[in-house]
Symmetry: C2
Subunit: 341 residues, 2 copies
DNA sequence: ATAGTTTGTGTAAAGGTTTACATCATTGCA
DNA sequence: TGCAATGATGTAAACCTTTACACAAACTAT
């Protein structure tokens, strides 16, 4: 039953009394084989406990059943749930996923390129807006690939993201509905499409309310907690103060809250704050953070589905999929305080 | 230069004017080949851009260069940093890692077992205290394996963890040094060795200070935020109150803090709180949480190093590696309030 | 000079699978 | 009945490596 060495297709063939070709067909093209034969083969497989040797199969087929997922930072709170979506979808189609993190290091990226070249991955999921392969990026021969969150700079790679404009619009509309008129935007000046889109949502929302953007209360940070804290400091040195802070992401919002609390202000009594992403800690802040939720698992699922489509068809049906983000109302937003309204 | 199909060892051999065997030797046993030949081969490799086809190599060798990492939950805040340690160590030895999450579902576990059986992974890293393969666990033929955090139930599998007793001791000693005498312990009754060891550290610390465990202020939860909150509720219904809460992990500590704040108490003014793990959000709590830091990256590194040793030697030098956790002093601990001392 | 050893390289088999092609039996149709 | 078409199965090559074994040349020690 359970020998020391795994059963091969040959063992199965011998027991089922057919050729190895028939066994292979019974497994992969069952309609091509007679019912009675298929039965015999299936029994033999059960008896031997045979599982296809993936190395041999990949070698013969010239492609593996692994998908490489490259992210700059595995620890990113946005990452793990997307990974779950990716993994579920992949596995249910017979693929496994393999993760790599580059930490924005081109050398690391290059190792993954070598990995791809040695045929070990059939496809590629990229969490970064650029190809992380350093100077070889231009000549890289890539397998079918899909981007997550952002279009990949080099072009031609479809991607799955979130409708940032619509999401930002939900945040700004909430603040306006609560009565805020002077709403600061704490942005991210790094060249990521997601961030500039959120800014567009902010502008559009103000515009729709007939308010217009006041650049004195727009601050460009870098998406970190520290940058949120810094933005508060800088804004308090200017001549006009907002009643609310709309932040480009949750990290920034956390920083803003820290900065405001350090100055002795109450949230949302003195200032309202919104984030974007709904990272796990958002709910544990005090007050808990009102934010825009990224449908992370769904993003992962769609990205992998798109990649699998690419793998079988060669051509993607869609070149861009934007999912709808949802407003999560918690306790960091209220009516503006009468004093500064 | 960059053809449509990747260069094979044969292309290299032709250009270097040697046999494929020599090319293989030049790569993997360079000392077995003449200097001049090695030079020719290296040049040919550079010209062709050859990279070894990992599938063919694995097939021939009968083992892959992939390590499977199985965790119940990828989203666990403890997970990602350990993963980084694992990944760095693996990659620097020519191995890649592959992650899978079981969500404690035996069916999922079984798929990974099939994966292992099809020779796709040379080794296994287990984040769970039991083999996640359901009823086939007993007969499973496993590759070299290493556990992380906990010994694997089935036995014979070395593991890398943290010295929980020493860690817990650091927490209890700090509280005692601050003057606390009545220190509650909020534990985790699930059968995880780590948790019972932390309890042992608590008992030992009290004992060393000549205090002794007061079971009226020991609560067994399940390690979740909610269980921490609940513990507070229950403790306030008993006839004796502690001045400090030592929690089995950070999640529990967060729950305790939420519970205490809900009752209007100040931390650390009215009650001190300690956690264990130092999850990323610990520093963002208000007050920030004093806790015991798991050396996560180091754990990953050691676990992978141990596995690689297993893969080459067959026998592990150590069967258990416990790393030293460090106290991280933040703002959730102070001298007990005079009122309840 | 000879026998034995070392060094460097080549030949060919093996690893497990998929699939083009060949073969044979069966069926359908004139 | 004969012939073509269809269906089911088998044979063997190919995918790309690694390595045991064989062989030749160049040393070493007598």
């Amino acid at each position: 039953m359970s020998n020391s060495t795994p059963a091969t297709i040959e063992d199965v063939a011998r027991i089922a009394n057919v050729s190895i070709a028939t066994v292979s067909r019974a497994i992969h093209m069952p309609e091509k084989v007679a019912n009675s034969t298929r039965l015999k083969v299936n029994q033999a497989i059960a008896v031997t406990g045979y599982t296809t040797n993936a190395m041999a199969r990949s070698l013969r087929l010239g492609r593996s059943n692994m998908i490489l997922v490259v992210a700059p930072d595995i620890g990113d709170p946005n990452f793990s749930n997307i990974l779950i979506g990716l993994e579920n979808e992949a596995r249910s189609h017979g693929y496994g996923i393999l993760i790599g993190h580059t930490q924005n290091d081109a050398q690391r990226g290059l190792e993954y390129l070598k990995f791809l070249n040695s045929n070990q991955a059939a496809g590629l999921i990229l969490f970064t807006g650029i190809l992380p392969f350093g100077h070889q990026t231009m000549t890289a021969r890539l397998p079918p690939s899909v981007g997550v969150f952002e279009p990949v700079f080099n072009g031609g790679i479809p991607y799955v993201g979130v409708d940032d404009i619509a999401g930002a619009r939900k945040a700004i509309d909430l603040l306006i509905a609560e009565g805020h008129r002077k709403i600061a935007f704490i942005g991210d000046s790094r060249t990521r499409l997601a961030y500039s889109r959120r800014r567009m949502g902010y502008d559009a929302g103000l515009d729709a309310a007939g308010i217009g953007t006041d650049l004195r209360i727009v601050f460009e940070g870098d998406g970190t907690i520290e940058s949120g804290r810094l933005a508060v400091e800088q804004l308090f040195m200017r001549d006009t103060l907002p009643t609310a802070f709309m932040c480009v992401n949750d990290q920034t919002a956390i920083g803003v809250m820290i900065g405001l609390k350090a100055r002795g202000y109450d949230i949302p009594g003195d200032f309202s704050v919104t984030g974007f992403d709904d990272v796990p800690q958002a709910v544990f802040m005090s007050p808990s953070l009102t934010t825009i939720r990224q449908p992370r698992t769904a993003i992962g699922k769609h990205a992998m589905a798109l990649l699998l489509e690419l793998l079988s068809d060669g051509q993607p049906a869609e070149t861009e999929i934007l999912l709808r983000p949802d407003l999560v109302v918690r306790n960091s937003v209220s009516t503006p305080s009468r004093a500064r309204r």
